[in-house]
């Protein structure tokens, strides 16, 4: 499902974020990505989500070399990947419901179905009571969960999460991890960047370690 072959990423600033990364994930697999801060976890997820392109090597998603995907097809491709960003990226001027509904609206789903799906997603992250509230009224943890709900609401084939439990207390963090596990059991391939070693050990899933590039 996800394959990296000798992938390197150097930012225009000259910063080498990834060097010679080889990685393979099966469809339906769930794995954790760890490494020190600055090891390139976020960069690796961005390459999968087609938010950036490798400077060297080949990234293959669902059998497609990401470099050779037609530019016009990128949005459709991206809709099959749910991303939970480190800095949640919620829209300030829309309430929780509308934020989560965004991917479904982009897909052109019927309002009736949107309502059902958004409620289901809200239920999973335990935020049903907050659907009318605006992001600035939410705690950091709640924002994070809204971000998760938005990423999974359209049932993407791949779910990527960048430090999704960074702002959550341990109990909630474990809850969220189990929610991801559930999505994985429904068939999604899940890759979570996290440096919460204790937590990911408990999950008993594959752990991929990124070592910081030495220059």
């Amino acid at each position: 499902m996800i394959e990296f072959k000798a992938v390197s990423k150097q930012y225009p600033t000259g910063q080498l974020a990834l060097y010679n990364v080889n990685l393979s994930m099966q469809q339906g697999e769930m794995a954790f990505l760890t490494g020190h801060s600055g090891a390139g976890k976020s960069t690796l997820l961005k390459l999968i989500a087609l938010l950036d392109s490798p400077s060297d090597g080949i990234v293959t998603i669902a059998g497609q070399n990401t470099q050779s995907i037609n530019k016009r097809k990128i949005p459709a491709f991206r809709r099959n990947i749910g991303v939970i960003f480190q800095d949640h990226h919620l829209l300030k001027d829309r309430n929780v419901f509308d934020n989560i509904a965004l991917p479904l609206k982009i897909e052109g789903m019927r309002p009736h179905d949107i309502k059902r799906r958004v409620r289901a997603a809200l239920d999973k992250v335990d935020l049903l009571k907050k659907e009318k509230e605006y992001p600035q009224m939410l705690s950091a943890g709640e924002k994070q969960r809204v971000g998760i709900a938005r990423a999974v609401v359209n049932k993407p084939s791949i779910i990527l999460a960048d430090e999704p439990t960074g702002n959550l207390d341990p109990d909630l963090a474990l809850d969220i991890m189990h929610t991801f596990k559930q999505f994985n059991e429904y068939g999604s391939t899940v890759l979570i960047a996290s440096h919460d070693h204790a937590l990911i050990k408990d999950m008993k899933k594959r752990i991929i370690v990124l070592r910081k590039v030495k220059r």
Binding site: D52, A76, R79, H89, I106, E107, G108, A151
Partner: protein, 317 residues
């Protein structure tokens, strides 16, 4: 990519819902920022109402010149050596020409009578032993056949000069003719003004949408992150452009018609004084539609340019 468990949405239904969403969104956006919306609409309406009212002025002046009684005539003075009968025959032959509507024969005797009746001339005429006036054929050309009346009038005059019986051709180019000429120039000027003010509308809308895009930059980037296509992102802005153009157009029509109806009593009074049945005319259905279409189109183009610039400048692939 595996997406078998996704409900199949037919592309046309998806597109329909996208349009509906964009319409709802753009309208509510206009509604939310009422003050700036009205300012923009006023700017557009003023820019549009100027060419529209100039056009209206021209149209009304044109109907003045379209008056059939005002069709110019050509007087043909017949040579002295030609008899009255010969002149009459020539008149009848001319009548057959397609460019000519009618020919009236004014024999020299009749002309002399007319002259006598004009006071002051009677005594002068008594001193002459013979009638110095020529027979005259008064020709009314067929205006319908004429594309450029002025040009064709001279062409016809030159043709008439060629007949052997005719001494002199005199065109009665009256004020109507001159006005027509002026109107043709004015028409071009209005066209140019319309073009410039159309450009103004384009800039006003483009700039408004640009500010709009900038204030929603974050939203656009997020939408891109979660897989929105360029056309999905562009659509609500295009609709905003349409609304600005359309509503601005409607407002300009209101302004033009208010101005028009405030003029009606004065014009009617003036027409009555001159014994004319002239009536002020409105824009008409076709022109109204045309103005609204043009302004909406300007809105689309302005919005397209404004959003296009942003879509290209963004850092995301």
């Amino acid at each position: 990519m595996a997406s078998t468990y996704k409900p199949a949405n037919s592309p046309s239904r998806v597109l329909l819902s996208h349009h509906k969403e964009a319409i709802d969104f753009s309208l509510s956006h206009l509604w939310q920022s009422q003050l700036s919306t009205w300012i923009t609409l006023a700017a557009i309406a003023i820019a549009l109402s100027l060419p529209a009212s100039l056009y209206l002025l021209l149209q009304n002046l044109k109907t003045l010149t379209d008056d059939k009684r005002e069709v110019p005539t050509i007087s043909l003075f017949i040579k002295q050596s030609i008899t009255e009968q010969q002149a009459r025959d020539r008149g009848e032959l001319l009548q057959e020409l397609s460019e000519i509507d009618k020919v009236i024969m004014v024999p020299k005797s009749e002309a002399l009578e007319d002259f006598r009746n004009i006071t002051g001339f009677a005594e002068t005429l008594e001193t002459l032993d013979e009638n110095p006036l020529p027979h005259v054929l008064v020709v009314t050309p067929h205006m319908d056949l004429f594309g450029e009346p002025e040009l064709d009038m001279t062409k016809l005059a030159r043709k008439l000069e060629g007949y052997p019986e005719i001494d002199l051709v005199q065109m009665d180019i009256e004020w109507v003719q001159r006005l027509r000429g002026i109107l043709r120039i004015a028409e071009r000027a209005v066209m140019l003004i319309s073009l410039l003010l159309g450009l103004t509308v384009l800039l006003v809308i483009g700039n408004t949408i640009k500010l709009n895009v900038e204030s929603r930059k974050e939203e656009i980037d997020v939408a891109k992150l979660i897989g929105a296509t360029s056309s999905y992102i562009r659509r609500p802005f295009i609709y905003s452009g349409i609304w600005y153009g359309l509503f601005g157009g409607v407002l300009s029509l209101v302004i033009v018609h208010l101005a028009l109806y405030s003029l009606v009593p004065a014009v009617e009074e003036l027409a009555r004084l001159y014994g004319s049945s002239f009536q002020i005319g409105g824009l008409g259905f076709k022109m109204t539609l045309y103005i609204l279409l043009a302004s909406s189109l300007l809105g689309i183009i302005g919005a397209w340019i404004a959003v296009g610039r942003h879509l290209r400048s963004t850092t995301l692939p």
